[in-house]
């Protein structure tokens, strides 16, 4: 598998996941409405307004929130010339406008990108990352982050958040409504009622799983397109190896921001079964390194 085919197959898979999600959401709306005897339009309209209001806020302020919770600070060229230059060079190579460069005072090596589009993008690295990586390795990591910006991952994750929020609110409303409408006669819609209860329980879980899957696909894609920028897969592969060996505890990171980083900040490598695999925001580093080495 070469770099170009890796990118295109990742993109197709991402689209498939998105289409699947839309199908699931529309089925849910239909089943819930049938079960409750409401019109499908009224039901989905209500949920749309709620999810919409929440997501518009997060669309514009998510990057500021992330930067505030992680305590990252913006830097100038003279503060970290090598790091700054790498960002400059690679944004030229990718044809992106120069992003704002941030640093996080944290001994645990990691990096992330945020912002709603390439014109409002932020690249952030921890001091730990800058101190342990060689130039080629740092280039690999920064190229990975810039690819997240270029592929509009930062926006895609926003879209996924909207979808997940939508399903969660939908199930929530449905559960409340079945309780309130207690022992009204539910003529003929009993099958739908049973179906709807099952969906209401399963759909938030499924939505979260899809969110995680999209995030993992995006990591592979960012690895692949990052390599297109540096033309040196070994740089990122070595950087990921260093990250795999590192066990410095992160000072600041929460479950909400985990999917933003280049490496999952909460890695518990000891526990490795089907379920932890499903709920990981990031694919295993070994798998990413293996793919990079085959390029």
């Amino acid at each position: 598998m070469n770099i170009y085919s890796a990118i295109s197959s990742n993109k197709t898979k991402t689209w498939l996941v998105m289409i699947l999600f839309v199908l699931v959401v529309s089925t849910l709306v239909y089943v819930f409405s049938k079960a409750l005897g409401f019109s499908a339009l009224g039901m989905s309209g209500l949920a749309l307004v709620l999810a919409g209001l929440m997501s518009i806020g997060s669309y514009y302020y998510s990057d500021k929130l992330v930067l505030a919770t992680t305590g990252a600070k913006q830097i100038k060229k003279q503060d970290y010339p090598q790091y700054f230059r790498i960002v400059e060079n690679l944004s030229i190579a990718s044809g992106l406008p120069m992003p704002n460069v941030y640093i996080m005072d944290d001994p645990s090596p990691n990096a992330f990108a945020t912002g709603r589009d390439p014109k409002h993008a932020v690249v952030c690295a921890t001091t730990g990352l800058l101190s342990i990586m060689s130039e080629a390795e740092l280039e690999g990591v920064i190229a990975h982050e810039l690819s997240h910006i270029k592929n509009f991952d930062i926006r895609l994750m926003g879209i996924v958040a909207i979808l997940v929020g939508f399903v969660a609110i939908l199930s929530d409303i449905f559960i409340r409504m079945t309780f309130f409408s207690g022992d009204r006669d539910n003529r003929g819609s009993q099958i739908f009622l049973v179906l709807a209860i099952i969906f209401a329980i399963l759909s938030p879980i499924a939505a979260t799983l899809i969110q995680l899957a999209v995030s993992r696909k995006r990591e592979f894609l960012a690895d692949a397109s990052g390599v297109l920028l540096t033309r040196y897969p070994e740089g990122l592969a070595q950087a990921l190896e260093k990250l795999a060996k590192d066990h410095t505890a992160p000072r600041v990171a929460s479950n909400a921001t985990a999917h933003l980083f280049i490496e999952n900040p909460f890695d518990n490598k000891k526990v490795k079964n089907f379920f932890t695999g499903l709920f990981n925001t990031h694919p295993p580093l070994e798998e990413r390194i293996k793919i990079l080495r085959s390029m």
Binding site: N89, L90, I92, G95, A136, L229
Partner: protein, 182 residues
């Protein structure tokens, strides 16, 4: 009835041609945008050279020929118009700059001077940036040239006389350079 079928076919066909034509034009515009990136860096490089010559002159007076050569090549780069000429002038300048830095090795005072070190750093940074900008430019040229060659775009390309663009070529030496790190 038949007239309608012909009419609809004609409209769909015209729309398709229009769409293909526009996609080729967009790719072409991207190339010139990418080239302006290279241009910014080439200009920055040209601006650094007089300072560099001044700095080296103070220590290595009798390298006159080299200074004249680099000044002339800088002028060539500034006056070059087409991407092809610019690439050529830039490559010649790169080689001469290499010999200037090689000459500097023989003058310990020069090598230790803060001014010279900063200039050297700046020049090599610009060189890297030219390389990255060139990479972006060339990938756009590749996209465009591929667009012209595949079916059915090639019909449109022939019809409107689109020509393939030239890559911004690297120097022979750069082509041989292989990044090996352990």
């Amino acid at each position: 009835m038949n007239i309608w079928i012909i009419l609809i076919t004609a409209v769909v066909l015209a729309g398709f041609v229009w769409w293909l034509y526009n996609s080729i034009i967009v790719a072409k515009i991207r190339i010139s945008e990418a080239f302006s990136q290279i241009d910014v860096q080439l200009k920055r490089r040209a601006d650094l050279i007089p300072n560099l010559v001044e700095a080296v002159k103070g220590y290595a007076k009798h390298e006159k020929e080299l200074f004249e050569k680099v000044t002339k090549e800088r002028a060539n780069l500034v006056s070059a118009k087409t991407p092809h000429d610019k690439a050529e002038a830039n490559n010649m300048l790169s080689d001469t700059l290499k010999s200037i830095f090689a000459v500097a090795e023989a003058y310990p005072d020069l090598k230790a001077s803060q001014n010279f070190l900063e200039l050297q750093e700046e020049v090599s940074d610009t060189e890297n940036k030219i390389a990255y900008a060139r990479q972006f430019y060339n990938s756009n040229v590749l996209d465009y040239n591929t667009k012209l060659r595949v079916f059915p775009n090639m019909i449109i390309a022939n019809l409107f006389n689109f020509k393939e663009e030239e890559f911004f070529a690297a120097t022979e030496q750069e082509k041989k350079e292989v990044k090996v790190k352990f």
